[in-house]
């Protein structure tokens, strides 16, 4: 197990392959390849130009190369990383700079619109300011496709043209209907009871 911890000081340059079973703190420069079963710490003065395969990595200096970690990668506010990161946990703190691909493995990806029962609050779409922002790209004029039956309480919102929804449309009127909708619902409940 890792009893010792390796430190590569500021003036040290290592060119080649480095592997080991302990933590490694880099304050100087390593070029080549790094393979550790523990944690790589690149301090603010550290420069790593290597492909790295570790358990954890905390980068506060410069790193150029691909980084694979079995546990986590953290780029701190002084870290600058260019390269691809593959790890189940990736943390990029504000101030960090990063360019590359991030792969956290399988994510359950966005499902199509979820079925809904109640809204927490009615949608509120504010009136737009007098000046319009640059026009968004127009989409082909077609109504929204019919949603699954569960949504039949709410009429689908058709957005016929792109751009901000002006106040004087069906939508705002719908916003004003929660009270009547609620009363309609209560009426339905009453009907069910009566049938019984």
């Amino acid at each position: 197990m890792a009893d010792t911890s390796t430190i590569v000081g500021q003036t040290i340059l290592i060119k080649g392959n480095l592997e080991g079973d302990e933590d490694l703190t880099v304050q100087g420069r390593i070029e080549g390849a790094i393979n550790l079963s523990q944690t790589l710490i690149v301090e603010p003065s550290g420069v790593v130009k290597a492909n790295v395969s570790v358990n954890n990595a905390v980068v506060s200096g410069i790193m150029v190369g691909n980084l694979t970690a079995s546990d986590s990668v953290e780029i701190t506010e002084t870290g600058r990383v260019v390269g691809d990161i593959k790890a189940p946990r990736v943390i990029i703190v504000e101030g960090a700079l990063f360019k590359g691909n991030v792969d956290m493995g399988n994510l359950e990806m966005p499902r199509p619109a979820p079925s809904t029962t109640t809204t927490r609050r009615p949608s509120y779409i504010p009136s737009p300011p007098p000046r319009r922002s640059e026009p968004a790209r127009p989409i082909p004029a077609r109504p929204a496709p019919p949603r699954p039956p569960l949504d039949e309480k709410k009429p689908p919102i058709a957005v016929p043209k792109a751009v901000v929804i002006p106040p004087a449309t069906k939508e705002t009127k719908k916003v004003e209907t929660p009270a009547p909708a609620a009363s309609r619902l209560s009426k339905k409940k009453v009907v069910v009871k009566k049938k019984r």
Binding site: V47, K49, I62, V64, S72, R80, V81, V82, R89, V90, I91, I92, E94, G95, L97, F98, K99, G100, N101, V102, D103, M104, L107, E108, M109, P110, R111, P112, A113, P114, T116, T117, T118, T119, R120, R121, P122, S123, Y124, I125, P126, P128, P129, S133, E134, P135, A136, R137, I139, A144, P145, R147, D151, K154, P156, I157, V159, A162, V163, V164
Partner: protein
């Protein structure tokens, strides 16, 4: 600009199309298409967005797939799930967030270093 309350797309709302505007916007429902906002867009925990997004600032707590271009900052918070490319001067990814895609921030590396 006057401080008006942010727009809200509630949990039960589904939008397919283009959204654009100048105010802040909070998405709790589902949006599919394209979003272009001058200010702050927040995708809440229940939000599901499949769209390319352009905004000044973007905070994601829910699910999103699409490409993001932000002029100021993108924050992917814990429990969020994002798939797509992000181009922004500042990108923050919290521990527990799920992300898959490219991130492009400006990374100045002094010439002598490499």
């Amino acid at each position: 600009m006057a401080a008006e309350p942010p727009g809200v797309i509630g949990k039960g709302i589904s939008i397919r199309g283009n959204l654009s505007g100048e105010g802040d916007l909070i998405i709790e429902g589902a949006v599919e298409g394209h979003i272009s906002l001058k200010n702050h867009l927040t995708i809440e925990e229940t939000g599901v967005v499949q769209a390319d997004i352009e905004a000044e600032r973007l905070t994601i707590k829910g699910e999103m797939s699409g490409n993001i271009t932000a002029s100021e900052m993108v924050a992917v918070l814990a429990n969020a799930k994002v798939m797509g490319d992000i181009k922004s001067p500042v990108v923050v990814i919290e521990d527990g967030a799920g992300f898959k895609g490219n991130i492009e921030m400006d990374v100045p590396i002094p010439d002598g270093i490499l």
